[in-house]
């Protein structure tokens, strides 16, 4: 496990700001939470108490993803006195979870929804997103009992823009940081539960570790695309096989970063730009071929000869992209391995063998 509940609880004991808000993946306006001094704690399946996924199965079908099943239990039980749960429209299952939370008495806390436009970046979509953001802000204000000023929102956006820039730099220069992938992700994933100002501090320390004169990391550079860097022994298996992650396209990490800085001055417009400008992701119904082009460009920049598509069981948005990604990446000369995990604490030996074989095929490994 990359981060334990204990680590989060211990942090929240002294850093909860004006309250804790549970946030479900993937993209939601976290800048608004920051501006209201709320601490957003993201819910991925690993973060739910032990047995949550199994318990969740009692009220959710077993063919739903473990994040939704686990979150169902957390919604009912609460977590660290959270005052609300933010559920973005990431997929049909998440939408169903929000609907259950709102109408079926399944949530111990108010549920605030957030809907992405799903038809592409058109003028009508931006207009809708603007109204949706305003509705979201109004709901959070009501729950938090405080008004949000545009100045504070502007400051929060600026803080997150700085974090995004630093994260992009860290991810680009990750091979010049003397940290393994497990440790690097442990730090980067603190953004999922730390207040932005605290995370910015952690990130600065990480940036200071960048040593551009360092000896290049040994092994085969890989690109990894998936939802969340779990389980951590995936990275240990990659490392043991003689490879390392050079390009990150995890929805929880690099894929949420806007690809460019916004030129917009007005805070709501900046938020819209940041959301619309995030890297292509199927949970926002991006075109898979634009995703292929984006990934190929990044793999080439990092000289990665292979890509691992790391999907979560029952994650329909990711699963539908697999055939196009595989074809597109292979046409661009990359070798592709598709693996599927389910937030289990440890990977199966079979998966480890597949990773070893893949890296060996790319020319790495002990052979």
């Amino acid at each position: 496990m990359v981060v334990t509940d204990e680590a989060i609880r211990s942090y929240l004991a002294s850093h909860r700001g004006n309250g804790v808000v549970l946030a479900l993946p993937v993209l939601y306006p976290r800048e608004v939470l920051t501006a209201l001094d709320l601490c957003g704690v993201e819910v991925w399946a690993h973060r739910t108490p032990p047995g949550c996924c199994t318990q969740g199965a009692g009220s959710m079908q077993p063919y739903l993803c473990p994040t939704v099943r686990g979150a169902r239990v957390l919604l009912g039980q609460g977590f660290e006195g959270a005052i609300a749960a933010v559920i973005p429209h990431t997929c049909d299952s998440m939408q169903g979870l929000a609907a259950i939370g709102l109408d079926m008495g399944a949530s111990a806390m108010p549920v605030v929804t957030f809907r992405h436009p799903r038809g592409g970046d058109r003028a009508s979509a931006r207009e809708f997103l603007q109204a949706e953001l305003r509705a979201f802000i109004a709901s959070i204000e009501r729950i938090a009992g405080r008004k949000l000023t545009m100045d504070r929102l502007g400051d929060a956006i600026e803080l997150h823009e700085g974090i995004d820039r630093a994260m992009r730099r860290v991810l680009r220069m990750r091979t010049c940081i003397a940290l393994g992938d497990v440790e690097l992700y442990r730090i980067l994933r603190k953004r999922e539960w730390m207040r932005a100002s605290d995370f910015a501090f952690e990130l600065r320390a990480l940036e200071q570790m960048i040593d551009s004169a360092a000896t290049p990391r040994k092994g085969i550079p890989l690109m990894v695309s998936g939802m969340v860097p779990e389980p951590s022994d995936f990275f240990e298996a990659v490392d043991a096989a003689g490879a390392y992650v050079a390009v990150d396209d995890y929805a929880a990490i690099g894929r949420r970063l806007p690809m460019h800085d916004t030129q917009e001055a007005e805070p709501i417009g900046r938020l819209i730009d940041r959301m619309m400008g995030a890297a292509p992701c199927p949970t926002r119904t991006s075109d898979p071929w634009s995703r292929v082009r984006y990934l190929v460009e990044r793999a080439r920049a990092a000289r990665a000869p292979g890509a691992i598509l790391h999907t979560v069981k029952f994650c329909e948005p990711e699963l539908f992209d697999v055939p196009v990604l595989r074809r597109g990446l292979e046409e661009a000369g990359l070798k592709v391995l598709h693996i599927e995990t389910e937030f289990e604490p440890q990977m199966s030996g079979q998966l480890v063998t597949r990773i070893e074989a893949f890296v060996e095929m790319l020319g790495g490994g002990d052979a």
Binding site: V68, Q95, A99
Partner: protein
């Protein structure tokens, strides 16, 4: 567009299709005169007209590309906007259901799986992607589309499905996003939908080369409203005790309201069906002999098991008299407005029940159970359809608390590999015994 192709298309649509339909009717009459009559109540006469309509639709479709503009659309797309532009419309979902009924769905889904689409995705999508890849279909040939049009009011999956098709066929895709309505319908979401409908109309005008005609759009809206209301009247005949038709019949007769909505032949068809059901009701013809218990069905049907399941229930005097799925095409019908075809379409298509929150769905199920005089609810937990299935366990608990008997039945609308016949029949039998 080629003139010869257009002639072929018109000939298939106006001559060959209806002739094939009549030939089918003659064969049925001949079978009857030879004494080969199926068990149970007499078949609805309208079924033959239904076959004629759908045969004509698919036959004309073979010659549509190159003759008229062709669009592939999702079942929840506001198809009315396409009619004035002369599009031939193909419904991949309807096609997948047809493949499932003919038990070819799994074979086609496997083609998509071999191509790389994982099995944990919607089986309709896999079936249609497989059909496109293998160029195989039980209807002979599906015309190549000029445009793909998807609407998210039934699920987000359609975007992934249609993007894949767009990529395979190299044709443009336009998505009308209908944001999910958690509580009461919200104005900003419906404004967004209306704007997208305007954008889609402009695209259709460009593709077809036909100018937008607001008068024609209004007339189509009126036609769609009439047909949907007639469909609602047909469904309402199942409120009679005993019911003159069943939910299983409704699953079959839903075809035209999905595929031909907005066309006069669709309206005429439901007028005919309504009249026949009225006559059946007057004569007291029951679709299930000794109807003892009446049920609501939630979710899509298990297409490949329609007959077996209906017979199993009927043997014990159980009748599914209403379904949330078939009711979906009648529920929002009164909102069509010929004087505001765009705004009303935005409301009609945003407010389909599957795009509404659980509060609405609970109220809907309660009201269907009450109005149709049901004492039980079968909830098909459909592995392929997450938006329909998530929340069913909560719904079942709620309805049980209301005093209704409920059963959550695991299955799939197309993929028989995700359906255990023995287990389902065992559970249905135990469920029926619980009424004793």
């Amino acid at each position: 567009m080629s003139l010869i192709r257009r002639l072929q298309y018109e000939a298939a649509d106006r001559l060959a299709g209806p002739m094939l339909g009549r030939y089918g009717r003659l064969r049925a009459l001949a079978r009857r005169s030879r004494g080969k009559r199926r068990a149970g109540p007499p078949q609805l006469q309208s079924t033959r007209k239904l076959k004629e309509l759908l045969t004509t639709h698919y036959l004309a479709g073979r010659y549509a590309d190159g003759a008229v503009p062709v669009a592939w659309v999702t079942s929840g797309f506001p198809v009315e906007i396409l009619r004035p532009f002369g599009f031939h419309v193909v419904y991949p979902e309807n096609h997948a259901a047809l493949c499932a009924v003919q038990r070819q769905g799994v074979q086609l889904a496997q083609v998509a799986e071999q191509w790389g689409v994982p099995r944990d995705t919607c089986a309709y999508a896999r079936c249609d992607i497989g059909s496109t890849l293998a160029q195989m279909t039980p209807v002979g040939r599906i015309p190549r589309p000029d445009v793909l049009l998807a609407c998210t009011n039934i699920c987000q999956t359609v975007v992934y499905w249609y993007r894949t098709l767009a990529s395979l066929l190299n044709v443009p895709l336009f998505v009308i996003d209908t944001p999910y309505q958690y509580g009461e319908p919200d104005a900003h979401a419906e404004r967004f939908v209306a704007r997208q409908i305007e954008e889609a109309i402009a695209l259709c005008a460009r593709i077809s080369g036909v100018e937008r005609d607001d008068g024609a759009l209004g007339l189509v809206a009126r036609e769609a409203k009439q047909a949907s209301e007639l469909w609602g009247e047909c469904l309402a005949y199942a409120k009679r005790k005993p019911a003159p038709w069943s939910g299983f019949d409704q699953f079959i007769h839903i075809g035209p309201i999905v595929t031909l909505r907005g066309l006069p032949e669709c309206t005429a068809y439901y007028r005919m069906l309504r009249d026949e059901l009225s006559e059946r009701a007057r004569l007291g013809i029951a679709v299930v002999e000794n109807e003892k218990h009446r049920l609501v069905w939630d979710n899509l049907p298990v297409w490949f098991e329609l007959r077996e399941m209906s017979q199993l229930l009927a043997r014990e005097g159980f009748n599914i008299v209403v379904t949330t799925y078939t009711n979906g095409w009648a529920e929002t019908a009164p909102m069509f407005d010929e004087h505001d075809p765009i705004g009303s379409a935005a409301r009609v298509y945003s407010r389909v029940f599957i795009n509404r929150g659980m509060g609405h769905r609970t109220a809907l199920l309660r009201s269907l159970a009450k109005e149709w005089g049901c004492d039980g609810v079968l909830l098909h937990s459909n592995r392929s359809c997450k938006p329909y299935s998530v929340g069913q366990l909560d719904l079942a608990s709620q309805l049980t608390r209301d005093g209704l008997r409920t059963l959550v039945l695991d299955g799939d609308h197309l993929d028989s590999r995700s359906y255990s016949k023995e287990q389902a029949e065992g559970r249905l039998s135990a469920f029926m015994e619980s009424f004793a």
